[in-house]
Subunit: 185 residues, 2 copies
Amino acid sequence: MNYCSHCGEKVTLIVPPGDDRERYVCSSCETIHYSNPRIIAGCLPIHEDKVLLCRRAIEPRYDKWTLPAGFMENGETTEEGALREAWEEARAKIDVEGLYTLFSLPQINQVHLFYRGHLSALDFEPGPESLEVRLFTEEEIPWDDLAFMVVGKTLKHYFADRQSGHFPMRSEDLVHPKGRDWKPP
Amino acid sequence: MNYCSHCGEKVTLIVPPGDDRERYVCSSCETIHYSNPRIIAGCLPIHEDKVLLCRRAIEPRYDKWTLPAGFMENGETTEEGALREAWEEARAKIDVEGLYTLFSLPQINQVHLFYRGHLSALDFEPGPESLEVRLFTEEEIPWDDLAFMVVGKTLKHYFADRQSGHFPMRSEDLVHPKGRDWKPP
Ligand SMILES: [Zn+2]
Ligand SMILES: [Zn+2]
């Protein structure tokens, strides 16, 4: 950030009065510009003993397999964001059964949420951001060609929980040793 | 948003090529400026048969009672954000027992998360954003003077779940009929 999005003057990185972190503050209108983590909402689409994955047509991780997921937009709920992504990336419609996994990735300022649900129809097909969409049994999952660690972890939880038929909501942090600002006192 | 935070030139609100929503796009450097929902992370601090509430020293909802909560910051996990807020608003330290409630508020582009946990000490006291911090039994909760609907809902879930001793993670949408952009197909 170089300029104030409100008035167009230069911003400086300072700790505002009463705050304890650096923020971009406008040198002219004094607006404080906050930056906050973003939410990635996605689905774990299930059909019988299979799950749906998409092969990515975009960077990052072009050609790798992923669960449909993307940045949550203003004006929607987390679940609507997840359903929208399933539609956009796989033309898939899902009957949601519940929130399943939540991951914090503090080093990249992201929170990922995945909803578990069954495909309500089998007429899925690649959307513009996918090269291919298909169903995989547990044995067929391309573990070495998954796009993101949160996808692998969500799939592993699912196949493990499927044994018992209980799918408790799972919360996990994926933390690099670097890039951390604050620890609980 | 009026100006590009990257180059300082004017932005215009248009639907970028390949997108389906209006974004602020720079007329000079062509940067697309996305705006996304923000996360509010908070705690439900418990001691014996009581819960901790803070009386707000700031707007909005000055003088009303709330659970400690606030905007999640870059560089932290959701749980760390919740613990930080408990410390900042109530000088309270919490042993977290799990994620308890998640609320989407699409009309104001917010997602609220509350962690359930026990106070690890009783030396809490008001931080700079609180007028008063105290413990309440269920009978003492000032239901008519709570600051936010998500606080009341989290407390009601807790007192109901306490009967059984089971505290399943609860996900809920607080949706106004207006202000919605997108519905699942
Ligand atoms: Zn300014
Ligand atoms: Zn620009």
